[in-house]
Subunit: 373 residues, 2 copies
């Protein structure tokens, strides 16, 4: 068997890190991006073109043995129309479900997965009565809501009216019972088209300002919660028939129960620490799963690790202080080559491995702060 | 400080792996290669041109904040002539010493480093009398001998005559007392221009057919030998004023003493396992040392590891069996993207990390064999 070529639709940091993992294996990579994304892609096999143009998609796909998408919003449907024989992983059915928060909830309900109480509200009255029933609820746009955008927490009819006017689309919006979670977990799974899968240990994730700030392993949850999180994540991927890696974000309640929050059908920020802390990184297992190769050990190879995101603090040109950041003992610095900084833009991340999560956390915070972007 | 650009003179696997490590840090890389080396370089910043042409060197170097060479035979002298202000690491003095096995021995003698008894034989008679004195000796070409080429083991005057006729150059050749070593060790050191350095744990290396076959850590040597190996390696780099990473290959005698065999002033095959087994890989520390950035922790992050080379078995096009190799538990496969196979050509390597060196060794051998190149 000659080495297969991996196609990646999307030229941001997730594609970049997947390409780096594939390059180590010797696997050739072709990236198709719709714009110079500013990740300063260091790779030769990058095409920047109109990625909705059938001729562009057809020619690009012809050189790929299997194709993945960097996000659920990449033009997978157009790709399949232009090149019906392409091995697209994840498939369009998975992407269609994930793109719509209402369809996600319906799929999880059909599979009997634990999740927050919710209503697909077609009308303002549906939304009002759901909020009344739940007491407190989060209203979410079905499509396009992320990182705190397109969401509103509501307790009163007046809240609902305001949210409905700004958020509802023609098919309404999603009303989810507000979950006063104790913690948030994320479990990444790599799954091949034949159903073979490996499940990573649960990560404890911490958001600030609706954005991921830090992720730590081991999660510190009880053994029962850890086990439940992994099982639910695997079941969720099966329910979606997802292929490649995907991450299931979970709420952990005070009682230690887990509820599916949402799924990212691609490499995920909460699993970036797998590069430094696990036997096989999410990016390598993504490449392996997409290409149908045997999957690698998802276990930890260190005692503990913490990842902290490096977010932009201002507008301007990037001038990271690698010198200061690398001076923090044990800091593994990952910068994405973005030349322009914007407030809250993900510019990179730092992972520190250590004997315990407290030490890892402290040094990861220090190193991420030292980059000064 | 904006991110510095790293220049690499040479486009083989050492440059490839250094570039992958630099890319992770976000450091831009420029590679200058004199030919399509067949490593299928996946990078954008590659110039293939006559790398002895002053105009080529000047233009290329102008875009680099610091430059390193992939081997001591890269045209460092021409580079400095064309671009005198370039920050070249290692420097030309180090490269000149290392290129000539006689000068290496003289430098180590001047620094009081332990090494085999030897004679820089200017004439056939010098060589004969040295072999007579040593009983058994290895005659080596001063320049260009490697992997068993340009060497001859001699015990008699007739052996010397035959070796002299084929090996001696105008300045003679090197006669080294034959060392009946117990084992071979290799110690890699990363050293900055200001002298700051970190020393990797000793690796036990095993050659077959004069080529590196396997490398394992921990070395299993006594604490005293391990300590001596690290100290001698650091002293050797100081004696050479080497910058970047360099590896000191050592003979370990039955009494546990170490003798300097030779030095590679660049990333080295015995330290490829640092990618998977150590906190900071030799390639990342090479980039950091060359750019003058803080050096990373050279310690092991796993209990044990073994690297086995994947050598070509035949002539033809490469068709590695990644599927079979990745099915070996814990195998981390590194292929260099070379499209043409030749017997004994280094096509890649496999590293396995495990609880002990025996388990790591067994699985690394199996995975390397499974690649079938």
């Amino acid at each position: 068997m000659a080495l297969p070529t991996l196609g990646i639709l999307g030229g941001g940091q997730l594609g970049r890190m997947t390409a780096l993992a594939a390059a180590r294996l010797g696997v050739p990579v072709r990236i198709l991006s719709d714009r110079e994304t500013g990740t300063g892609l260091p790779f030769a096999g990058v095409t920047v073109a109109d990625w909705e143009a059938p001729a562009v998609l057809r020619e690009w796909a012809a050189g790929c043995d299997a194709v993945t998408v960097e996000s659920e919003w990449a033009p997978a449907d157009q790709l399949l129309e232009a090149a019906p024989d392409v091995r697209l992983r994840p498939g369009v059915a998975t992407l269609e479900t994930v793109r719509h928060k209402g369809r996600q909830r319906q799929a999880y309900a059909a599979a009997g997965l634990p999740q927050p109480a919710h209503v697909l509200a077609a009308t303002r009255d549906d939304a009002r009565s759901a909020v009344e029933r739940f007491g407190a609820a989060v209203l979410k746009q079905f499509e396009g809501s992320y990182d705190g955008y397109g969401n509103a927490t509501c307790r009163t009819a007046a809240d609902v009216d305001a949210a409905w006017d700004t958020l509802a689309s023609s098919d309404g919006l999603l009303v989810e019972s507000f979950v006063a979670f104790e913690a948030e977990a994320a479990v990444t799974v790599a799954r091949r088209a034949d159903g073979e899968a490996v499940v990573y240990p649960a990560v404890r994730s911490e958001h600030r300002d609706h954005r991921l700030h830090a992720a730590t392993v081991p999660s510190g949850f009880s053994e029962a919660t850890e086990r439940a999180a992994r099982r639910v994540a695997l079941d969720t991927l099966r329910a979606l028939d997802a292929t490649g890696v995907a991450t299931v974000e979970l709420f952990v309640t005070g009682a230690g129960d887990v509820l599916v929050n949402e799924v990212a059908p691609r490499p995920h920020n909460t699993a970036h620490l797998t590069i430094d802390a696990h036997h096989t990184s999410q990016f390598e297992n993504h490449a392996r799963a997409v290409l149908g190769l045997p999957l690698g050990d998802p276990g930890l190879r260190v005692a503990a690790a913490c990842m902290v995101n490096v977010l932009g603090q201002r507008d301007g040109m990037a001038a990271p202080d690698l010198d200061a950041a690398l001076a923090i003992p044990g800091a593994s610095i990952h910068l994405y080559g973005k030349t322009a900084v914007r407030p809250k833009r993900k510019m990179g991340h730092v992972t520190v491995t250590a004997a315990d999560v407290e030490a890892a956390r402290e040094r990861a915070e220090a190193a991420a702060a030292a980059v000064r972007l």
